[in-house]
Subunit: 206 residues, 2 copies
DNA sequence: AATAGAACCATACAAATGTATGGTATGTAT
DNA sequence: ATACATACCATACATTTGTATGGTTCTATT
């Protein structure tokens, strides 16, 4: 049904998808600037071609009115900042080490990031190896919530329990002992709160 | 730190969040139209007030340039179309029966919908009661994928196995027998493919 | 009574945005 | 050699969009 896109058209479509997964679909001018075109008309013609071939739908007259027709069939690579141990700590990497493909349903805002889970200490919380935890570094952690923490440069995801003078990090798996953090502990840092767990069930099609 | 919003300002902010979770942040004109204002200036003044109180950040001169400063701290109610049984079938409801609060990280496009899981037959696939499955009705189901199907007006989520002349719906839990669907089966309908599973870990703050 | 803020409107304007037309160059298929 | 699609540009134009200013009404506070 759909004709093939030319290389340039594909590049533009990829850019649309990429921007789309951030927040806004770009304007013609923004697309032109990104690709170095001196003119919006060039973009306009490419978009018309892409629309003719059925990959996007444009809302006439509406700014940023580009819609992706394949929306949910499309999976977008998102950077994963590192792996986080459910049981024993693992290293958290400074830069993206990997990507996971999430459906376009998942929109990752600026200050949130993703970590891939390894280990089985959280299995009683129904979090498993390969799951993607979504971490918000700007949220106040409450007792009982799952958090990502760095202990001596190693990252863990555990349930946070606040007590009198101690913070405890619990695994759901009773085989692992709770870690006690004195308030004076130097090499402890709370990275963020786990706001969700996502697991990809179906891979990209088309 | 942040002052309180007036009722009208709160309504506008809610509208921003709602639209944001769909696809585009609205323009001033669109906001004005939605609230019945005859003028964009009214909206402009409200937005300025909301920004002054710290709830949004505006990108000057950029169309649809409103950003939510609380982004990931905010949870948006999404309609859940029904409950779907992992083990024995449950009813799927025609209209929204419930809502789940997803972080703004989750952007739900038009043709995708959410179902809440009940039952434990999928526990070996790490899907549990209370989890939200994201269903795409426009995706071609492949053998081995998890699908939502309606059998005699009851909905199930199971793994689809395509065989010669039969379609089988498997539970991961061996206690449940596979359901065999002859190609001539009248009361069977494939609803969609489960593209992901989401579980909310932390609730709304602020 | 005077003041201040909230809520709304009309008007105006510059810039951004989508759109249309005509033109040039290049490669490819017929 | 001709025709055609792709890729790009310049120019032009009507809306859309964000922004600013001044004015009116209402309510709450001092």
């Amino acid at each position: 049904m759909q004709k093939e896109l030319t290389k340039i058209q594909q590049n533009i479509l990829d850019y649309l998808v990429e921007q789309r997964s951030k927040s806004r679909t770009p304007t013609l001018a923004e697309i032109a600037k990104h690709f170095g075109y001196k003119n919006r008309s060039t973009v306009q013609q490419h978009l018309q071609a892409i629309e003719r071939k059925g990959f996007i739908k444009r809302n006439p007259k509406i700014s940023r009115g580009i819609e992706l027709t394949f929306e949910n069939n499309y999976f977008i690579p998102h950077p994963v900042l590192g792996e986080v141990a459910a049981g024993n700590p693992l290293t958290i990497y400074p830069d993206s080490i990997d990507t996971v493909e999430l459906p376009t349903i998942a929109h990752v805002p600026n200050d949130s990031f993703l970590l891939k889970v390894k280990g089985d200490s959280l299995k009683d919380a129904y979090i498993f190896t390969g799951d993607i935890v979504i971490v918000n570094p700007n949220m106040e952690a409450e007792s009982g919530q799952f958090v990502v923490a760095v202990l001596d440069n190693e990252a863990v995801v555990k349930r946070l329990i606040k007590k009198e003078n101690v913070i405890e990090l619990h695994s759901e798996n009773p085989e692992y002992e709770p870690i006690k953090i004195e308030k004076t502990h130097s090499n402890f840092q709370l990275v963020g709160v786990v706001i969700g767990v996502y697991r990809t069930m179906a891979k990209k099609v088309g």
